[in-house]
Structure formats: structure tokens, C-alpha cells
Symmetry: C2
Subunit: 558 residues, 2 copies
């Protein structure tokens, strides 16, 4: 067995928060049997990937070794863990294991893209075991901000690995399983933990995390004290929060109406899989129109300011017949993810203009995080006493900080970002290989590589504008007509009110008169010269250097 | 006098944080003599204005009434108050009044754009008075995060207005004048304050603001305890912070080196105008290379993650010969403005990869805000006892909240956003007119209107890509050659690996074969049909609907 090894290779999620995809392998070097944990997406923005739908990890490394892939495991149904399933599964076609709720969400995603839903296998929690080549994998329930989140115990001939998934230490999570010290103690007692791969999201939060249950009272008070319509937004997948809000609404004599596809879907799956029971009665948006404002609560999507979601739609005006006005209250029962502030504040300001009172979590009363804070992480380190700690689910700064506190606790640590293959077989974690990783963009319906240049060109057009020039020449280099310029995304008038396109055309025309036949016979030369002239004019007239596309058409004189 | 009135009209800065520009007027309705307070910019982002340099208020309303404009006053030298001076002054050409430091910065801005620096008049603080038509204006020193910030007392025949500018209640501000209760008491005693226009930035901060002086000790301790090179970033205009940092460095046996044009400029102007004295000796970046790391502190620009500033440059690698490494410390002595998080975290992560320790203000030790918090605002309300409070310098949500606390204190309030003209003459503030306002973009060297569509086209190209199609026809509608397609910012291959441009060309060619002469003789019809076909192919092949530019060339057959 000496020559066999246990490896860990993040392809996504390590060095970033998003698009989780972690590979484990066991076997002779280069011949390891593999499993993949999670297939997540991350979300694009205008700065990095304008117009892109979602971003997912480039799993080429795994695709090239797909014959060695035993199985895929999904820890929970958040998009950054399951969102890429439908897009990437066809490249792998392995069995996908998940617990009931997660599997149900996964099947919907597979079905939407026409893939077989029976590729997804629903498994029970520990002590149930999935055998996958040299791996014996158990799903261990823990608390997070979505039902049925699970850590994985991955037993291998080289020892036990615990892959935490996303978690918090919530002993009263309202919906789903509580964090259970005894359970985790038994996991550690049963077999020593060789390596803990651990969520790092909240490593910079220095106070112990709070329980979902602490929100019930403040939310109930807030809702009870509100006069008009009450509208609350949170993540659609935070079923526990939806239940807390709904129960508070009922206690305040309010009827509940849910707006937003993703939230409805989550509630429906949570009820059909039995993870959510006794959720209060919900009425349709139409029926809600008949309910007095004072007796209504809307639960809506869009807590991150998403323009197309219900919260933003309501902030702009009437939506599905409902309109907020003075006296109503809108609650962000959520935290704004860095980068989403502008969208969230836009909603707030729109409501402010309508006289709607907006409440957020500034006072720390109406939201709790789904991730373990620093003291909670330290508690888990002490409970599991792993030989090694590899922080995951974090930007580099989170991983480094998490490793630092692990080292301080006497654990061998290694910061491993996407593409770093770590050998877990020895005394210490050891980086043994650097694998090329990257991002795939879903652009429209097509997957493109982040480095293909397609998106770079879009960004350039956004920054610099785009000028198109066409010229028609015959084979001998004789111009047929004059050069023609179209501009897109640039001011049409330059200095002194001159028409920018006409100024460019005049310069191009003059150049054509000057340029010899030899130049005009050479397409590349024509393009280069025309591009240069267009940029010169643009810099001089408007101080910008646009992207330029030149089309040289060659016609045979008839 | 009955028929004369005192008006207030924000053209920028009310309903947003940025591009401050406030008009006051006194006289018969429609004939008021006017003054303008501040001419600021705001900064663009990829979401709203890709490729734009800065954004400033559209002052068309004032331009059309420029004969009635008496003067311009600048409260302080932050970009959101003075940044548009050089760009907009030519439209107004009025005298600009400011205190010494602010005037010096203003002159640099005027000079850079070739405008006369003597348009800027340096004035002393109260009791000095500037007479401008019916207005008597005094600059009243107060504390902020830049030297010589001033509130304005604007005395009119209709009473006294206090325009707060940006301020905080700092009784020990390190550099510049302290907040002075006695001074403000005397302002209120001297003449009743009819209206207070007041900074609303920090109205949601519920604790009293802290003094700049509280930072000296924690900063000194942090710097002293650090092993390697110490690098700190803050706003270049926060001269007090630079002084505190520099003095802490000297106490820790460190030599100071300043990196970044704007920071150097601020320090130089602060010293030459006498607002900054006894700043420790600074060495050049070259000389700093000779200083042992343990004895060096760099003060650098780029606290908001700006890609071109020194902080980001250092995070990427060697910059001006200096490179950070394991054992060094980088301090954000700043707060991240919402929207800039990604850029700031990028720097943090880059440093984390190099092993550089990054410290920020998460613990509340290394930064204080320059704006008055809620209890401070309430203190000022009580001190000045204005008849009316008009909140300014805030998004709608800040203005609303500020008005709410004013009302609770018994003051008549009015939320007035850009374009709302408020009559301050009566018992209560009264909105009397809605004026069209907007934004001007400096794009390259040209000012364009935000609603011109230029930037909208750039955003569309960024989201959807751009397809250009050219076709050559003769006057009779006879095609000369085949349609030609170029794509920019779209994946070159569609379904099944087909070339996207070729697929479009084939469809266009087929259409040309089908289309009758009548269609092909009509340029508009040709363009519409070609655009439609291109979009159809794009939607089918790649699921996107691109921007399309069609160039129809008509040649006479020879």
C-alpha cells in the first residue's frame, strides 16, 4: 500500500467564495480513483463578465480522467454547490449522490436541461454509507441556512477525511437538523480524523455565531408592531427563516403570500420531501389582493438586490397587482453579499421615495449567518482533532486566516487554492502538483472559457466604444466608392461640433488617395492603416481609443 | 419685500452621495439672484457608466440663468465637492470663493484645463464676509476628513441659512480646526437660523462619532509591533490621518515614503498653505530602497481598491522598486465605500498570497469617519435650533431618516432631492418647482449627457456582443458579392461546432436569393431583415440576442 496515496484537489471554491468543486483521489499516483464533491456556480458582474449567465469551474482535468471517476457527491442545494450540475454533468456522467431535499433540487436541474434524473441517487444520512471505489462516504447532518446540509465523512485506506461542507453551530435551527456535538464526538472517536476540509467563510467574525431560533422573538415583535403591509425578503432557500417569518406573521394576524419562483420552488420541495412541516397557509398573489394590507405579509425573493426579482420589481412600482406605499414596511432579513450593495440600496431608496419604511439587519436582530464564526471553527477543530486542516470555501485571505488559527491550535495546515493537488498520506499535507484550472462562462446557451477573449472583447467595447469601417476595393486595389464609418457607443460629435464619423471618413478617404496600389492590394495593410487613422481621429476629437473593426470588400469589376 | 423669496435648489448631491451642487436664490420669483455651492463629481462603475472618467451634475438650469449667478462657493476640496470645477466652470465663468487650502486645490484644477486661476478668490474664515448680490456669505471652520472644511453661513434678507458642508464633531482633529460648540452657539445667537442644510451621510450610525485623535495610540502600537515593512493606505486628502500615521512611524524608528500622485499633491498643498506643519521628513521612493524594511513605512494611495493606484500596484508585485513580502504589514486605515469591496478584497487577497499581513478597520481601531453620526446631528440641531431642516448629502434613505429625526426634534423638515426647488421664505419649507436635472459624463475628453444613449449602447454591447454585417448591392438591388459578417464579443462557434459568422452569412445569402428586387432596393428593409436574420441565428445557435449593425453599400455597376 506504500505507493498509494490520498489526494485532495480543489477545482473551484478554494481561493474564492463560490463554484465549489473538490476532488478526492485514492490510489497509485496518477491512477487514483476519484470522487467529486459539489458542482457549484458563481455569479458574474459587469466588471468581470458582462452578459454572462453563470460561471462555473473548468473541470477539464477531471473530464480527461473521467474513467477514474467513481461518483459525485452534493453536500447541499445552494447554487454555489449544486448550480453547475445540469451544465457539467454531461461531461462526467457519473452517479450523483445527495440527501433527499438536495437530490430533489438536483433532479429539477437535470430535468430542465434534459438529462436523466435517475443519475441522481438519494441517500440517507449516516450510518448509511455510499461505497465508491476505495471511498466509503457518509452524509452527516449539520446546520446551515438551507435544509439537509451535510458534511461528508470520507473513509479511505489512508484514513478518515471530514469534508465540512457549509455549516454553522446551530443547536436550534428551526428547520432541519441541529448541530450535534455528541454526534461529531462519535465521528472522531470512531476513527481518527486524518484531515478536515473546512468552511472558512466567517473566519473573520470573532463572536460565536447565533442560532436561527434567536430571530423568532424580534421578528414577531417587528411584524406585530407594523401598521400597513409587511414585506420580507431573504434567500429563497432559507426555509427556516421563511418559517420563522411566516409564524410571526400568523401571530400578528397576517396572511402569507409568497412571490418569486425560486422561493416557491424551495418551499414546495421542502414540503414534498418532508423537511418542512406545518408551514402556515399561503395564498396566491391574486387572493392576497383581497386581504387588507394590515393583515398581509409578502415573502419575496431578491434580498441581494437582483433586478429581476420580486423585491426590485415591487420597489419600482406595481407588481402582480401589489404596490407598496406609505405605512408599509419592507424588511431585509438578510446580509448583503459584498458587491451587491448598490442593488440593495437602490431598492431601499426606491421604497424610501414611496414612504415605505425599510428595516435591515443593521441592529443585528433580523438575520443570522449560515456559517461558523471563528470561535465555532475553533470548537470544531478541538472536537475533531484532525491531523491536518485544509481550509476551503474562502478567498485567499479567509483560507490563510483559517490556517493560521489551525496552526495555533497545533494542527498541520496547508493553504490550498484551486489547482493545488495536496497529498494527505504523509505526516503533513504536501502540495504535489499544480493543475490548470479556470472558469467556464455560460453565455446565452454556450459554455465558453474565461480566457477565450470573447468576454474581454465585450468589456473593451463597453470601455472604449466600437467603430466599424467598410471599404470596397477591386482586386487591383482600385477603390469602389468611399470608405464608410459607423460608430457604436461613442459620442457622435467631436470637437467644435464636427460629426465624428464624417471626420473619420474624410481622413480615410484622404489616406486612400495617398496610399499606393501596393498598399491597397494588401488587406492586412489596409485594415491596419484604417484602424490607426480611426483611432487617431478618435483620440484627437473625443479623447478615446475605440475598438475598431474594418471590413475590406473586394469586388471584381464587371 | 413680500414678493421676494429665498429658494434652495439642489442640482446634485441630494438623493445620492456625490457630485454636490446646491443653488440658493433670493429675489422675485423667476428673477432670483443666485449662488452655487460646490461643484463636485461622482465616480462611474461598469454597471452604470463603463469607460467614463467622471460624472458630474447637469447644470443646464443654471447655465440658462447664468446672468443671475453672483458667485460660486466651494466648501472643501474633496472631489465630490470640487471635482467638476475645471469641467463646468467654463459654462458659468463666475467668481469662485474658497478658503486657502481649497482655493489652492481649485487653482490646480483650473490650471490643468487651461482656465484662469484668478477666477478663484481666496477668502478668510468668519468673521470675513463675501458679499454676493443679496447674499452675505461666511466660511465657518469645522472638522472633517480634509483640512479647512467649512460650513457656510448664508445671510439673506429672508434670514440666515446654514449650509453645513461635510462635517463631524471632532474636538481634536489632529490637523485643521476643531468642532467648536461656542462658535456655533454664537452663530445661532447672532441671528436665528431660518434653515439648516445638513450633511446626512452617517445618519444611520447610532453611536457618537469618534475623534481623529483616538487613532494615535492604536496606530502607534500596531506600527511599533510590526516586524517588516509597514504600508498604510488612506484617502490622500486625509492629511490628519497621514500625520498620525507618519508620527507613529517616526516613534517606531521608521522613515516615511509617500507613493501616489494625489497624496503627494495634497501633502504639498497642505504644507504650502500652512494648514499642515511639522510633518516628519519624507524620502523619495528611490531613497526608500536604501532603508531597511524594518525601518520603513510607505504611505500609499488606493484605499478604495482603485486598480491604477499604488496599493493595487504593490499588491500585484514590484512597484517603483518596492515589493512586499512575508513579514510585511499592509494597513487599510480607511472604510470601504459600498461598491468598492471587490477591488479592496482583491488587494487583500493578493497580499495574502504573498504572505503579507493585512489589517483593516474591522476592530474599529484604525479609522474614524469624517461625517457626523446620528447623535452628533441631533446635537447640531439642538445647538442651532433652525426653523427648518433640509437634509442633504445623502441618498433618499439618508435624507428621509435625517428628516425623520429632525421632525421628532420639532423642526419643520422637507426631503428635497435634485431638481426640487424649495421656497424657504414661509413658515415651512415648500416645494415650488421641479427642475430638470441629470448627469453629465466626461467620456474621454467630451461631456455627454447620461441620457444620450451613447453609454447605453456600450452597455448593450457588453451584455449582448456586437455583430456587423455588410452587403454590397447595386442601385437596382442586384447583389454584388455575398453578405459578410464579423462578430465581436460572441463565441465564434455555435451548436455542433458550426462557425457562427458563416452560419449567419449562409442564412443571409439564402435570404438575398429569396428577397425580391423591391426589398433589396430599400436600404431600411434590407437592414431590418438582415438584423432579424442575424438575431434569429444567434438565438438559435448560442442563445444570445446581439446588437447588430448593418452596412448596406450601393455601387453603380461600371
Amino acid at each position: 500500500m506504500k505507493s498509494e496515496r490520498l489526494i485532495y484537489l480543489p477545482l473551484g471554491g478554494a481561493g474564492e467564495i463560490g463554484m465549489n468543486a473538490y476532488v478526492y483521489g485514492y490510489g497509485a499516483p496518477g491512477k487514483e480513483r476519484l470522487i467529486l464533491v459539489d458542482m457549484g456556480v458563481t455569479f458574474p458582474d459587469m466588471d468581470g463578465a458582462p452578459g454572462v449567465e453563470v460561471i462555473m469551474p473548468d473541470i477539464t482535468w477531471l473530464e480527461e480522467r473521467v474513467s477514474r471517476l467513481e461518483a459525485i457527491f452534493i453536500t447541499h442545494a445552494h447554487e454555489d454547490h449544486i448550480g453547475a450540475l445540469g451544465h457539467l454533468w454531461p461531461k462526467l456522467k457519473a452517479k450523483v449522490y445527495a440527501r433527499k431535499f438536495t437530490a430533489a433540487i438536483g433532479k429539477l436541474k437535470m430535468d430542465e436541461l434534459g438529462h436523466p434524473t435517475d443519475a441522481i441517487v438519494t441517500v440517507g444520512a449516516r450510518p448509511d454509507v455510499v461505497e465508491a471505489g476505495p471511498f466509503r462516504v457518509q452524509f452527516v447532518p449539520l446546520s446551515h441556512s438551507i435544509p439537509e446540509s451535510a458534511a461528508l465523512i470520507i473513509d479511505t485506506p489512508a484514513g478518515r477525511v471530514v469534508h465540512s461542507g457549509d455549516f454553522k453551530l446551530d443547536r436550534s435551527p428551526v428547520v432541519g437538523e441541529a448541530w450535534d456535538d455528541a454526534l461529531w464526538q462519535s465521528v472522531a472517536d470512531e476513527a481518527p480524523v486524518r484531515a478536515l476540509m473546512c468552511d472558512s467563510t466567517n473566519v473573520f467574525s470573532t463572536h460565536p455565531g447565533r442560532s436561527e431560533a434567536t430571530l423568532a422573538e424580534p421578528l414577531a415583535e417587528l411584524i406585530k408592531a407594523s401598521e400597513g403591509m409587511f414585506v420580507a425578503t431573504t434567500f429563497g432557500s432559507n426555509v427556516a427563516r421563511l418559517k420563522t417569518l411566516a409564524e410571526a406573521a400568523v401571530a400578528a394576524d397576517r396572511t402569507i403570500c409568497v412571490m418569486g419562483r425560486s422561493m416557491k420552488r424551495m418551499l414546495s420541495v421542502a414540503e414534498s420531501t418532508g423537511v418542512l412541516t406545518s408551514f402556515p397557509r399561503v395564498v396566491s398573489t391574486e387572493d392576497a389582493l383581497e386581504v387588507p394590507r394590515r393583515n398581509l405579509m409578502l415573502l419575496v425573493t431578491g434580498s441581494q438586490g437582483e433586478r429581476r426579482a420580486a423585491a426590485a420589481a415591487l420597489s419600482r412600482g406595481k407588481y402582480l397587482g401589489h404596490e407598496l406605499k406609505r405605512g408599509d414596511t419592507f424588511l431585509f432579513s438578510s446580509r448583503t453579499i459584498p458587491g451587491n450593495e448598490k442593488g440593495v440600496y437602490k431598492i431601499w431608496n426606491e421604497f424610501s421615495e414611496k414612504g415605505v419604511r425599510v428595516v435591515d439587519d443593521a441592529g443585528g436582530l433580523y438575520h443570522v449567518s449560515g456559517h461558523a464564526n471563528r470561535p465555532d471553527l475553533e470548537h470544531v477543530h478541538r472536537l475533531l482533532l484532525p491531523d491536518m486542516l485544509i481550509p476551503m470555501h474562502g478567498e485567499h485571505r479567509h483560507l490563510t486566516e483559517h490556517a493560521r488559527i489551525g496552526s495555533e491550535g497545533g494542527i498541520a495546515t496547508q493553504v490550498a487554492v484551486n489547482g493545488m493537488m495536496v497529498d494527505l498520506t504523509g505526516e503533513h499535507p504536501k502540495v504535489v502538483e499544480y493543475v490548470e484550472t479556470g472558469r467556464l462562462y455560460l453565455d446565452g446557451t454556450v459554455l465558453i472559457g474565461a480566457m477565450d477573449g470573447v468576454i474581454r472583447n465585450r468589456i473593451r467595447m463597453a470601455l472604449n466604444g466600437h467603430v466599424l469601417a467598410t471599404v470596397i476595393l477591386d482586386e487591383a486595389g482600385e477603390p469602389l466608392g468611399e470608405p464608410w464609418v459607423e460608430i457604436m457607443g461613442l459620442t457622435p460629435t467631436g470637437k467644435g461640433g464636427r460629426d465624428l464619423a464624417e471626420t473619420m471618413e474624410a481622413e480615410l478617404d484622404e489616406w486612400m488617395g495617398r496610399a499606393g496600389r501596393k498598399v491597397l492590394k494588401n488587406d492586412d495593410k489596409v485594415e491596419d492603416d484604417m484602424r490607426r487613422i480611426i483611432r487617431q481621429v478618435a483620440v484627437e476629437e473625443i479623447g478615446k481609443k475605440p475598438e475598431v473593426t474594418v471590413v475590406v470588400s473586394r469586388l471584381l469589376p464587371e
